[in-house]
Symmetry: C2
Subunit: 216 residues, 2 copies
């Protein structure tokens, strides 16, 4: 009756005891699968434990609670996305190349995390109301937007608020487009998608009409 090892794809590494570090990583992987599949609220700690092939007490010996578990995953993904975008912005001084890089970063992020759907933790969380989560999610978008706004403000002469509005639109467009592209199962190649978006955004923002320079 009691089979030794569940070779089911639904269970990860069932079997004997593991060192804490390995067990922790395994629990994080299981939790990510469940959170991504069901969202935070519908995800049950029982499901996560079962998914990992352990019992609930073990789960609580590694994480104080559901929220901390979620935040650990969220931080990891936010770090990844933030680093990728940052690198794309710092890699060059050519603004068109920057747009290309940031777009690629977004598309790569949703594409790479398609296997596990990790991007949903950031872009489609059902915890937008929780302050801790909200802060972390907005921090990524804000940091990117601010960096873009610096360049936009310098190049267009727009004041800060105006530059931030356009920067929000640009980064938001990239994010929404990448999500749509993945949700539609990549109807076109990633290269084509990035090229199209790059063309759209670059035509929009480059040589943006200087305005609002008072007097002079």
């Amino acid at each position: 009756m009691s089979s030794l090892v569940g070779s089911d794809s639904s269970e990860l590494g069932r079997g004997g005891r593991l060192p804490r570090s390995a067990r922790r990583k395994q629990l994080l992987a299981a939790a990510q699968q469940v959170f991504v599949a069901n969202g935070y609220h519908a995800a049950a700690m029982d499901d996560i434990a079962e998914r990992a092939g352990v019992s609930k007490p073990v789960l609580y010996q590694h994480f104080p609670g559901k929220m901390e578990l979620y935040l650990a995953l969220l931080d990891t993904q936010a770090e990844m996305l933030g680093a990728a975008v940052n690198q794309a912005l710092a890699a060059t001084d050519d603004n068109r190349a920057r747009i290309h890089g940031v777009l690629t970063a977004y598309f790569e992020f949703v594409d790479r995390s398609d296997e596990d759907g990790a991007f949903r933790l950031i872009f489609e969380t059902d915890l937008g109301n929780d302050p801790a989560v909200r802060e972390r999610v907005e921090a990524v978008a804000q940091k990117t937007m601010q960096a873009v706004a610096d360049t936009v403000a310098g190049d267009t002469g727009l004041d800060r608020a105006q530059a931030e509005l356009l920067s929000t639109a640009l980064t938001g467009a990239a994010q929404v487009a990448a999500r749509w592209w993945l949700a539609e199962d990549r109807p076109i190649s990633q290269e084509d998608a990035v090229r199209l978006m790059e063309s759209l955004l670059w035509r929009g923002i480059s040589n943006f009409p200087r305005q609002g320079e008072p007097g002079h």
Copy 2:
């Protein structure tokens, strides 16, 4: 001890009995306040009933459950936004004017619903996982995107998938920008915001380089 009518701003229309229609509208208003303030999950039926100054049974005599109550509100708001966008698209044949109209529709929607924050029901719901909710929310964006994609495909010669990608980016940019603008407490006037966004999007999409016309 028992004050007759709660003139508190926290309670709506406490006092005697109301005709069903009026009571229903009042319950919807109370529910909207609570849902917007706390999100779906954190909102308690007790809070909604208390907010409306009635007891829970009456709430359940008007709505079968929490979900139906939420969906009623969601449908109303989705209808409003969809109608506004539709009207903006149908009002003219000039595509730049269409962009202006749609942008205005989005900004008006978040602005007008700032008093009660109704736009959060659509744009920041914490029920993105529930099929019924997801379907309704996506339907609005999808319909808009499809309408825009029709025009984009016709004007640029792009194939359907490419046109839809760009249309998603355009409508997504409008939505994200409007939400940012409100979240930042309207740092610039609505007219300026719409003008800036219109300039950005129109420069991006107008005279988009024709490509992908095979052979011929």
